[in-house]
Symmetry: C2
């Protein structure tokens, strides 16, 4: 049976899995990143695990797909990822290709998620959609004409770093007012912290301000805490305005939202849709669906990575 390997490189763990053509995950391996100060050792261990599993199960491995922060599809390299222990340019696709002797592809996490949704998830069969991941930051993958847009340098799709408030919040990228400083788990926490520091009242006052999490804000909102509800409204308004602009670029029919924040359901999805519609140019109104990812949160990254193989080996 033909299988693909999907590898998700995160800040804490590297997860690999053997994935069947229908998206079923056959086996999964988990390696803590900090055990591998040298990337070569991680490649060796992951490759061994993948190859042995395929041999034992009589699987034909047709390729390896990798999702990684700062991943460049064209070069197949991780380029200057701030949150990984390996510095500079890491030609990871080539390293796996040589070790496992199968074609290998690499892209960033949000692009991998977009392909995962297109092959297995909420955007199955869609030719024009936008993937937005709301995690620590805001990642995006743009699909147009049925193809992921990589740009001339492999680095397209950084919607999280478009400016939503001129001279707004300081962003980790060095600039100010980037969308991800408002619309992400971190952005939601920043919003509440700013308001609490301004003396606003909330049940969240009982929590140490430096340890507040987006999950706690969601719980407070579920218990009708007015400030927590307002934080979700504000986050949705910022995201809705940004998505209205995004639609004017590539005119997608679907926007797939992914990540912890999406668990807040209509506090995010419904309100974001409301504010997007309010801000859309008339020709786009009532045409764009916003949906939650249909991939289980724990599997999405590796399914996305594996789907790179199914996508590219068909191409």
């Amino acid at each position: 049976m033909k299988v693909a390997a999907g590898i998700d490189i995160g800040g804490t763990n590297a997860v690999a899995a053997i994935v069947l053509a229908d998206g079923k995950i056959e086996t999964r391996f988990n390696f803590p990143i900090k055990k591998f100060p040298a990337i070569e050792n991680l490649v060796d261990e992951l490759s061994d695990a993948i190859l042995k599993n395929c041999e034992a199960n009589n699987f034909e491995l047709i390729g390896i797909g990798i999702g990684a922060p700062n991943g460049n599809f064209y070069s197949g390299s991780i380029e200057f990822a701030p949150n990984l222990p390996w510095k500079g340019i890491i030609p990871l696709a080539k390293m796996f290709q040589q070790k496992c002797n199968v074609p290998s592809w690499l892209t960033n996490d949000a692009n991998a998620a977009a392909i995962g949704e297109m092959i297995f998830g909420a955007a199955k069969g869609k030719k024009d959609f936008l993937m937005v991941t709301l995690g620590t930051g805001l990642g995006s993958g743009i699909v147009a004409n049925g193809e992921l847009i990589y740009g001339h340098d492999g680095l397209a799709g950084e919607m999280g770093h478009t400016i939503v408030v001129r001279n707004g919040r300081q962003c980790g990228c060095g600039r100010k007012g980037c969308l991800e400083t408002y619309c992400s788990a971190t952005g939601l926490v920043r919003t509440i912290k700013e308001w609490l520091q301004d003396g606003k009242k909330s049940s969240l006052n009982n929590i140490d301000i430096n340890s507040i999490t987006s999950k706690q804000i969601f719980e407070a909102a579920e218990n009708n805490d007015a400030l927590a509800l307002e934080a979700f409204r504000f986050t949705s308004e910022m995201l809705g305005m940004a998505l209205a602009d995004a639609v004017a670029y590539t005119s997608p029919d679907t926007i797939v939202l992914f990540g912890g924040l999406v668990n807040a359901g209509n506090l995010i999805i419904g309100q974001t849709k409301h504010y997007m519609e309010q801000n859309l140019l008339h020709i786009y109104k009532n045409k764009v669906t916003i949906v939650a990812s249909q991939l289980p949160e724990s599997d999405a990254a590796i399914l996305g990575a594996a789907s790179l193989v199914w996508k590219e080996s068909k191409a």
Copy 2:
């Protein structure tokens, strides 16, 4: 010899031309729009002119390309164009196809210009670029992976209606702060008018405020009028900021600027490049070229329309 017909529908004139494969314009016809309250009559006259010319010259007409405001590539129709006498949905591509018995395509002016630049002009051979037309409004065409992005509904690429100033200038679309209210010939004139009405001093004070044109502002800037120079700087700053965001979506290597304002040369191009670089996310810095269109202004629209034929009949 194989030829294409290019038709440019504008607010004042419909211009058609017979165009050779190398972009040479063989013949050109011009019909004032106001002579044709019924679209059928315009289609008849243009078709007759095209077909007779091809017959007389022994040309083989391989297709017709049309650029028109509010043109939808997928439907081949002009949809609710506010500045044309024909209301509602006009299935223009189909009408020409039936009349002339050759395949016909239609898209909006900015998309046609983008394809024109890709086939004949400043973006020859480019796979990822952005076309921005600075005229009465701001039009845009996005090319990624070598393909024009039409979006799910044929209406992608409305960068002129992304918001550059929240609650900013009133736009004709009904919303506020759209890029084209600042960055266009009209936007430049609005900027100067606002400032003159605020009592700012300029050589332009000598002109009736309601008749000031972008050309006069350019002439004043060339004569070192400080207010006119500041208006070009301000326009370039707004455009540079907007382009920095646009780059984060599709990561083009080239941005082609077209239209009357571009005649101001580095007052627009150089300054826009400066402000774009200042606002770009670090991964995109020093990678994106901004160039003026290489198509003669009087020919660009019909060359763009004709190039639709060469592009689509190859596809």
